[in-house]
């Protein structure tokens, strides 16, 4: 800013400077406005934004999440071999697993379904709870799972009024919708 001008000249120079720089910015916002409403088709700054607004009106239109995205956990219990690796690797200890050795009358040659790697199930799973309120979505548990039965689902809307409701019991799930616990 010029400082050698004095008095009135400086006063008007400041006003002029403010108007010049602000209208430069205004031109940019106006171009973006016209562009996003499809009123001008010229490429903006050498790149085509595409038309329309970039805002997503969330509850009406939802974003398609990438396949890898880490949201609520889900355990397919028919593939679980109670190996406890997920519970061990969890940094916040949100997984609780209880299992016991199979009795003589139970099928000892049982295997996990083919899509869960056909591994022998030597233990009987008694409890598989995940406290989703504690989960930090780091994804370590799904990486160590030997049968890949513990997965991150695409579901991210599961807020609840009660913190206890976040404890998901995967042995006790609704048959109609496998992602919803039976007591919900």
């Amino acid at each position: 800013m010029a400082t050698n001008k004095s008095g009135v000249r400086q006063y008007f120079a400041n006003i002029f400077d403010a108007i010049r720089t602000v209208s430069g910015g205004m031109a940019i916002t106006m171009r973006a406005f016209l562009k996003s409403n499809g009123l001008i088709r010229k490429k903006l700054g050498g790149y085509d934004y595409g038309r329309g607004t970039v805002t997503l009106s969330y509850p009406e239109s939802k974003e398609v999440l990438p396949a890898l995205s880490r949201n609520r956990l889900f355990n397919h219990v028919e593939g679980c071999i109670s190996c406890n690796q997920c519970a061990v690797v969890c940094p916040v200890d949100c997984i609780t697993i209880e299992s016991r050795k199979k009795n003589d009358d139970e099928d000892s040659g049982e295997k996990t379904p083919e899509r869960f790697k056909s591994k022998p199930i030597k233990l009987k799973l008694l409890r598989f709870d995940i406290d989703e309120a504690l989960c930090c979505f780091c994804g370590l548990c799904t990486e160590v799972c030997p049968t890949e039965c513990l997965v991150h689902t695409a579901e991210f809307e599961y807020s609840k009024y009660d913190r206890d409701k976040f404890v998901y019991d995967y042995l006790n799930f609704n048959d109609d919708n496998p992602l919803i616990p039976s007591d919900a």
Partner: protein, 378 residues
């Protein structure tokens, strides 16, 4: 006649204590600053820390080396990749592990993308602090694209848990690499636009130029680093001065303040260093994404990590030099993990700098040093 009415010309004045924060939008987190004001002049400002203290350093002593990575993410939650890189490199230095070339290139790409995302947020919220709303929306529109790329690469938008001891968690496929290169092409003109929109706007310049000047020697003596140090005109960037992770292979410049407006070390120069750094990051990403070698994405580190020894390692994060001091005793868990946070140094200038400042300028100061309280308190 009332005795309380003072005689003309002898008005009673007193200092007023104002609490700024902890829930104040321009403190960028939960920082409480106790301001002692005399009219509109600040006499002293005492930052009160600890509102976001999560006992990270102690907690790290109870977890495996791999389990600490998600916690490291949560320090500077705006630049998690950079947080991870420093920690993971400290662990690898402890194990003297050789990291595959491809993993290193991926690390550079994601870290620089994260630097852009972090600087965009810093620039955008700084504008909003000073009353300019539009640049914030522009910055977030483009930041969103980066977060989308991250979600594709590692599944999360902010807390990635992506860089692991030995390499990275997942490979980046060709499509995503092409998307990253495409993003660079898309973003460069828009960054020029953002620069033209805000940087030389005379209202913005008048609010920032010449305000809260940190002289070069003061910046050095306070141990400032990153854009805050370079904003004071000191040419120091660890990526250039002590290259790590293959940064020596890439051609980029270190952005030092030029005092185009205002003077060296003022708010405007610190702000503008960030804007220019985004251009340099784009250069690095373009080079890394086009030259990325084929090969494994992890290696050199076993499945269970047991280490012994002591290392200190610093990396250049968006907010400055982040240091990890890791002491290992041969077990699966670290004996001690101490973090040297750049934001803590940045926040310590507040006390000295704010004396004599106007009340409205402290907002400009706090925004320009770009602190993240998650990292200050840990």
């Amino acid at each position: 006649m009332s005795t309380a009415t003072p005689e003309p010309g002898k008005l009673r004045t007193e200092e007023l204590t104002i609490n700024m924060g902890p829930q104040h939008p321009s403190t960028h987190g939960v920082l409480r600053v106790e301001l002692i004001t005399d009219g509109e002049i600040i006499k002293a400002a005492y930052p009160h820390l600890g509102y976001l203290h999560r006992c990270f350093e102690k907690h790290a002593e109870t977890r495996d080396y791999v389990q600490i990575v998600p916690f490291v993410d949560r320090m500077d939650y705006l630049a998690s990749m950079n947080m991870e890189l420093g920690y993971v490199m400290a662990v690898e230095k402890l194990l003297a592990a050789e990291i595959p070339e491809r993993a290193q290139a991926i690390r550079v790409i994601v870290c620089e993308l994260n630097r852009i995302a972090s600087h965009l947020l810093a620039v955008g919220t700084y504008a909003i602090d000073l009353g300019a709303f539009t640049p914030f929306l522009y910055a977030f529109r483009d930041r969103e694209k980066i977060l989308h790329i991250f979600e594709k690469i590692c599944g999360a938008r902010l807390l990635y848990n992506y860089i692991r001891p030995g390499g990275v968690a997942r490979d980046v496929n060709k499509d995503t690499l092409a998307e990253i290169v495409e993003f660079c092409k898309y973003f460069k003109p828009l960054l020029h636009e953002l620069d033209a929109l805000l940087s030389f706007n005379s209202i913005f310049v008048n609010r920032t130029a010449g305000i809260a000047v940190i002289k070069t020697d003061m910046a050095v003596s306070y141990g400032l680093s990153g854009p805050n140090l370079r904003g004071s005109g000191y040419d120091w960037d660890l990526r250039k001065n002590a290259p790590y992770c293959g940064y020596e292979k890439y051609d980029f410049d270190v952005c030092v303040a030029t005092a185009e407006k205002g003077e060296l070390g003022d708010c405007w120069n610190r702000y503008h260093v960030r804007v220019r750094e985004m251009f340099e990051s784009l250069k690095i990403i373009e080079q890394a994404a086009t030259q990325i070698p084929e090969g494994p994405i992890s290696g050199g580190v076993g499945k269970t990590i047991k280490a012994e020894g002591e290392v200190f390692l610093t990396t250049e994060c968006p907010r400055g030099e982040l240091g990890y001091h890791l002491v290992a005793d041969g077990t699966k868990k670290p004996h001690r993990l101490k973090v040297k946070s750049p934001c803590l140094n940045a926040i310590s200038v507040l006390d000295e700098l704010s004396a004599g400042m106007m009340l409205a300028d402290i907002v400009a100061l706090i925004g320009s040093i770009d602190i993240v309280l998650g990292e200050v308190d840990r």
